[in-house]
């Protein structure tokens, strides 16, 4: 029995010591911040529940164990119920659920809007398109596109328009906030924002086949100025993306980082019904082929 009790302080220690390093509990932007607050708020309630149950459980098990010489002291086999106390332990959970529901619903509605930022610029629009097993990030206003990495300015909301060229994926940058699904034939909107400059890990978190574990990307959050410099550099130095080249890149497989000075949005939007079967029409046979993907191997890029 004591083992279960020791779990509790252990979990607290782990939790508190971990806040500094555990990504989700160490938010780098307002979206992740609001989600972290909600999580901590719920953990407090949950710890109280766990404490009450564990304490009652320990009391019952220790006090009422059938030990030698106990006899029939404190033994009453026919207690079948107690209405007042049953009402209490029905009402208290209802109160707790209500206390958890209110901030949950509030946060849900907040997440549908761009977070408030220190500068009053409109959100930066980025189309994030998942394809087996890479990410295309298109900046329509800047006219640039990147593969498997992303630059964003700090203190400005980013409006991700999520879609997929083929199988379902989920864009997740835990340091900046929670995920949403990328699906072909429809578009999701996800608002995220970075307040601290840094490099954050992003990934597809929804299983979509063999290259899933490698479908990751890096997010470079930097000051407005640095971001503008990067955009200008990309616009002038990166090659243009042709449709033929884009079609070749869509072929299932892994890709290195790349940058282009135009976007694929001119000829296809995978998040619309007409764009839903764009990739599958072109590469149907390639989806069944296995990559024989192993750990730590050179990623087989195919730049045709």
């Amino acid at each position: 029995m004591k083992k279960w009790l020791t779990l509790l302080p252990l979990s607290l220690v782990l939790l508190l010591s971990g806040c500094g390093q555990i990504t989700v509990l160490d938010p780098k932007g307002p979206v992740a911040e609001s989600q972290k607050e909600l999580i901590i708020y719920s953990i407090v309630f949950m710890l109280v529940i766990v404490l009450v149950v564990f304490a009652l459980f320990t009391y019952m098990v220790v006090r009422f164990r059938d030990r030698p010489g106990r006899g029939n002291k404190d033994y009453n086999p026919n207690i079948h119920g107690n209405t007042p106390i049953e009402i209490v332990w029905t009402v208290i959970p209802i109160i707790i659920v209500t206390a958890l529901s209110v901030p949950t619903v509030q946060t849900l509605y907040e997440l549908e809007k761009p977070p408030e930022s220190t500068n009053d610029e409109e959100p930066l629009v980025i189309y994030a398109t998942s394809a087996d097993w890479k990410w295309f990030f298109s900046y329509p206003e800047q006219g640039i596109e990147t593969v498997n990495y992303l630059h964003i300015p700090t203190d400005r909301a980013v409006e991700f328009r999520l879609s997929s060229a083929d199988s379902m994926a989920s864009l997740w940058i835990p340091a900046l906030g929670g995920q949403k699904y990328n699906m072909a034939g429809m578009q999701n909107t996800l608002y995220l924002q970075a307040d601290e400059p840094g490099v954050y890990d992003g990934r597809n978190s929804n299983f979509n086949g063999e290259g899933f574990a490698r479908q990751t990307f890096e997010v470079y959050a930097e000051s407005d100025e640095e971001f503008t410099n990067w955009v200008e550099e990309t616009q002038s130095e990166a090659p243009e993306l042709t449709q033929d080249q884009y079609n070749a890149l869509l072929k299932p497989g892994l890709l290195d980082k790349m940058a282009f000075s135009s976007t694929h949005l001119e000829w296809v939007k995978h998040g619309t019904l007409p764009g839903m079967d764009y990739a599958i029409k072109r590469h149907r046979d390639a989806y069944g082929k296995t990559l024989h993907l192993k750990n730590g191997e050179e990623e087989d890029t195919h730049e045709e």
Partner: protein
């Protein structure tokens, strides 16, 4: 088709699997032939319609599946222990987590519980069999052949690799060609027939066949949980049947229900899957709640606290289970309103569940707790399940779920509820009812050893996963980054601890078979409900005379009044169903038809389906309506069973 396309080649682990399958099959055939046991096997087991034997076959198959799913789990944990592991490559890992999930839910948890229901529920309600005994046998064979079909996939054709949820478009023909995904669809379809039939069977059995005097609110709590589960099955399984059929038609006949081409709606699969899949979670947890209630009341030597509240909360949970399926994809972008509704309905399930937890705690109040192995499993459930439950509430908070979704936080949560709930209940129920099934108890010392290994291993394995999930580790990746290593190593150590616990458990079965004292009475634990009122071994007709029930704990009441289920004055001939080989043969043919469909050999599928129709015809004109057990035979059987 080439032979090397038919058999899976190139993987040393799979060659080892093939060799062991061949060896076990050869050994089985040799033993059956050498000891001339084929006739016995056919007469006593393959053609039986006795609910107790069917239950035992369910449990043995489920234990085998627990072994298979457990080996899958250990292989995954080995691969994930260190960042540079290449024990499994990506494709092989994907196949293993897919089969692990499917096997554990469909072919382990559900059959294990259905096995316990089969053995116990008719006994608990004072019935002589289930309502439709031949259908019950059909259910079992449909499950077993479905499980076999799914399990041969790893040596023949290739395992499914799209996850146990099998999301489209990934699981569709374009992105997952080949037989692997077909094995999933047809294996589940075949066994699903049996589950649906079981639901109907138990619904009718419990409603129509209770002993006189046993009103609905006098039924034992495990029977109640079975009844509620039967209702969930009957409402949920048709959804799965239809969804599987639609995807099968998509894959084999080129329709476009869930495809990216045509007018396909890939996300409709996710909806249909979870409209079945969420209630399914309660199909495997409610019977577990019933088992814990029985075990705790028996070994606390006390009446269950708040019986009516326990029953109503199960009914409420069953109702709510159909209203929360969207919480499996809060991140689909349904909008704040939809997510709010499903978020609140999800959290509401915590209320009846909390009521049950407190009722179990109150059952312990002023009790005399005996720490038998069965009770240890039941007691360990309470604190362990509470950890899983509260993290479930956290996942139910949609706005926070955006961060938990698809991460190891989720993996930790559902293992905490499913292992602490269902697996602990399977062990508790098996140990508790073991003497009723096999005529001897399991050794308590070895049982305790296996319990502690499993329990500590379980917490060591899954508790760290909450934290690695919050650190951004997604589920289903086959490789980890160095930052996640320490917690993953701990987790893997815990997994092996559970493995050792299971091995000790199986050893205990062998040890107790050899050395345990045989049961002399039917009442092994000073029981409270009617299953303990029969002698052990239980005669095939269960009760010589059916008692009149007046109280919840009917047998306790009988013991007080000095009544028995063998009242020589009241003996009458008993009508019992005859054994029949039809369910076995029919499902065997169905297996062949399904196998044909898996490889898209339509000639084989059509021939098989015609065979099934012929079997149905034969069944319709089968006028064998059983036989009567004469009073003399009952007297002889009971006297020897009761050592009178």
């Amino acid at each position: 088709m080439q032979l090397d396309e038919f058999f899976v080649t190139g993987e040393p682990l799979i060659y080892a699997g093939m060799v062991s399958i061949a060896l076990v099959t050869a050994a089985t055939i040799f033993i059956l032939t050498y000891f001339k046991k084929w006739g016995w096997l056919w007469r006593e087991w393959l053609t039986t319609v006795d609910h107790k034997k069917i239950g035992i076959m369910y449990i043995l198959s489920a234990l085998a599946m627990l072994f298979r799913g457990g080996v899958d789990a250990l292989m995954m944990r080995t691969q994930l222990a260190f960042p540079d592991m290449n024990f499994l490559n990506s494709q092989h890992y994907n196949e293993i987590f897919t089969t692990h999930g499917t096997v554990m839910i469909i072919f382990m948890a559900m059959p294990f519980l259905i096995g316990l229901m089969n053995v116990i529920v008719p006994l608990q309600i004072g019935a002589r069999d289930v309502a439709f005994p031949a259908l019950n046998a059909l259910s079992f064979w449909s499950f077993l052949f479905g499980a076999m079909l799914f399990n041969i996939s790893f040596v023949i054709g290739g395992s499914p690799d799209a996850g146990w949820t099998s999301y489209t478009p990934l699981a569709g023909a374009a992105m997952s060609p080949g037989p692997g995904q077909n094995f999933y669809l047809l294996g589940l379809q075949l066994s699903g027939i049996g589950t649906l039939a079981t639901g109907i069977n138990f619904m009718v059995t419990i409603i129509k066949m209770r002993a006189p005097g046993m009103k609905m609110f006098k039924m034992p709590i495990f029977t109640w949980s079975t009844l509620v589960t039967a209702f969930i099955i009957v409402f949920a399984f048709p959804i799965l049947t239809v969804a599987l059929a639609l995807m099968t038609i998509d894959r084999i006949f080129g329709s476009q229900f869930f495809t990216l081409t045509g007018e396909g709606l890939p996300m409709m699969w996710a909806n249909l899957f979870w409209m079945w899949g969420h209630p399914e979670v309660y199909i495997v947890i409610l019977p577990a709640f019933g088992i814990f209630s029985e075990v705790i009341a028996t070994f606390a030597r006390k009446q269950l606290f708040g019986y009516k509240a326990m029953v109503w909360s199960m009914i409420l949970i069953a109702g709510l289970s159909f209203l929360v399926w969207v919480h499996h994809f809060f991140t689909m972008g349904a909008g704040a309103f939809v997510n709010s509704v499903f978020s609140v309905s999800t959290m509401l399930i915590a209320v009846p569940t909390g009521v049950k937890i407190f009722n179990w705690l109150a059952t312990l109040y002023k009790s005399k707790i005996q720490f038998t192995v069965a009770n240890l499993w039941a007691l360990a459930f309470i604190p362990s399940f509470v950890i899983g439950g509260v993290t479930g509430v956290m996942l139910g908070m949609a706005a926070a779920d955006y961060q938990f979704h698809n991460s190891y936080f989720l993996v930790a949560h559902f293992h905490y509820v499913l292992i602490a709930g269902t697996v602990f209940a399977c062990f508790a129920g098996l140990v508790y009812w073991y003497p009723k099934m096999f005529g001897h108890k399991l050794n308590e010392k070895i049982g305790k050893l296996s319990f502690w290994f499993f329990l500590i291993g379980f917490h060591v394995c899954f508790f760290p996963q909450y934290f690695v999930g919050l650190d951004g580790m997604p589920r289903r990746v086959f490789s980890i980054i160095p930052e996640w290593m320490p917690l993953n190593v701990i987790s893997t150590v815990g997994a092996f601890g559970m493995g050792i616990g299971f091995v000790i458990f199986v050893y205990n079965i062998y040890y107790s078979f050899r050395y345990s004292e045989r049961e002399k009475t039917g009442d092994s634990w000073d029981g409270r409900t009617l299953e303990w009122a029969t002698p052990t071994p239980v005669p095939f007709y269960n009760f010589a005379t059916v008692p009149h029930v007046e109280d919840h704990d009917a047998f306790l009441d009988m013991k007080k009044k000095g009544q028995t289920t063998f009242d020589e004055e009241k003996l009458e001939p008993i009508h019992m169903p005859s054994s029949t080989g039809q369910p076995f043969i029919m499902m065997g043919i169905m297996f062949i038809a399904s196998f044909g469909l898996v490889f898209e050999w339509l000639w084989m599928a059509i021939a098989g389906l015609v065979g099934v129709l012929i079997m149905m015809g034969i069944r319709s004109f089968d006028y064998d309506d059983g036989f009567h057990v004469e009073v003399d035979e009952i007297k002889r059987t009971e006297r020897s069973a009761r050592r009178l």
